[in-house]
Amino acid sequence: MSYSTAEIWFLIIGLGVGTFLLRFSFLGLIGSRELPVFFQRMLRYTAVAVLPGIVAPLVLWPAAAGGELEPARLIAAVVTGALGWYLRNMLLAIVGGAVTFFLLQAFVFG
């Protein structure tokens, strides 16, 4: 890394302000005005359209495993998803997934 202190602070402030503006965009500008109906329909799928796409490469090609498929992560991810789906309980899904991962890592793929 070869950045001056000034450059690092420029990055921190730029990233902080930029991220805030992205978060404030619609909340700040649109406020109580009505959004178009089709747009509202799309927005219902925001979470399920964004998060699975972020997760998939992280599970299949984790950087911590050198970008290679790691069975412990894959199986733990599937267990987390199945628990979350059946039980609709985030806490149990997270705990179940983490326990699965550490058990597999310690005793099966270790």
């Binding site: 990055l11 978060r23 700040g28 329909r41 219902r44 925001t46 992280l58 985030m90 899904a93």
Partner: protein, 246 residues
């Protein structure tokens, strides 16, 4: 302040607002299991990259968005130009503007000041937990919605900051077997799995995963953005098709 005046009419408001806040706190508490390791990971890597504690903390407080913080760090280690670092890390956060849009029908009537605070504290977890609650209880007042939202971050934010600091101080003493990086995918899966209840939701999720995995060749990590927008469209069109058939 308009929003507060609009909703302060009924006498039962005080306790119901407090209950909404507590419900938010309760629903978000499992997130701490993943927020803490993920924030620690950022602290560790930022320290290894040569930042002092003050810089690490300023970074994490000002940005408060883990995946973009890690992206910036990664690019800094590759000695990328500052403009590229800013553009790429902000692209990672573009989904926040979609969250902002998705929250607007529910929180748009709040005062500008309240909306600014919501924006500052808008993360994947607070967004997803809040919208799920608003859809379950469409009759919530504006004050209850705001209280619920703040409830979902009142633990997450301080623990995020605190754990970043712990990671920065402990640094390389944390063994890699803890797999701190796995915390984020784990929390996102636990967050979305319960939402996959309808066909349009399943279609959107499937589209998102398929495109995200096949569009990794697009420059500046823009594949995920294309995947997300296409998946939202796929969800909306499936919903319309099913409505027509019914």
């Amino acid at each position: 302040m308009q929003a507060e005046q609009n909703t302060s009419g009924s006498a039962g408001d005080g306790p119901s607002v407090r209950r909404a806040f507590l419900r938010g706190v309760l629903i978000s508490s499992p997130f701490l299991l993943v927020i803490v390791p993920f924030a620690m990971l950022f602290g560790v890597l930022a320290t290894e990259a040569g930042m002092d504690l003050l810089t690490v903390m300023a970074f994490t407080v000002a940005v408060f968005a883990g995946s973009s913080q890690l992206t910036a760090l990664q690019l800094m280690q590759d000695n990328a130009p500052a403009a590229v670092i800013l553009a790429t890390s902000l692209a990672v956060n573009l989904r926040m503007s979609m969250y902002s849009a998705a929250l607007t029908p529910w929180l748009g009537r709040l005062s500008l000041w309240s909306r600014a605070w919501v924006a500052f504290l808008l993360v994947d977890q607070s967004y997803a937990a809040s919208v799920a609650e608003y859809e379950r209880n469409p009759k919530m007042s504006n004050a209850e919605r705001l209280a619920y939202f703040f409830g979902t971050v009142v633990l997450v934010a301080p623990f995020w900051y605190l754990a970043t600091g712990v990671g920065a101080i402990l640094g390389a003493q944390i063994p890699p077997e803890l797999a701190l990086d796995f915390a984020m995918p784990l929390s996102f899966i636990a967050l979305t799995a319960p939402m996959l209840r309808t066909i349009p939701h399943l279609v959107a999720a499937f589209t998102s995963v398929t495109l995200a995995l096949t569009l990794t060749w697009l420059p500046w990590s823009s594949g995920i953005l294309v995947a997300a927008i296409t998946a939202m469209l796929a969800g909306a069109f499936t919903e319309m098709a099913l409505e027509k058939r019914a």
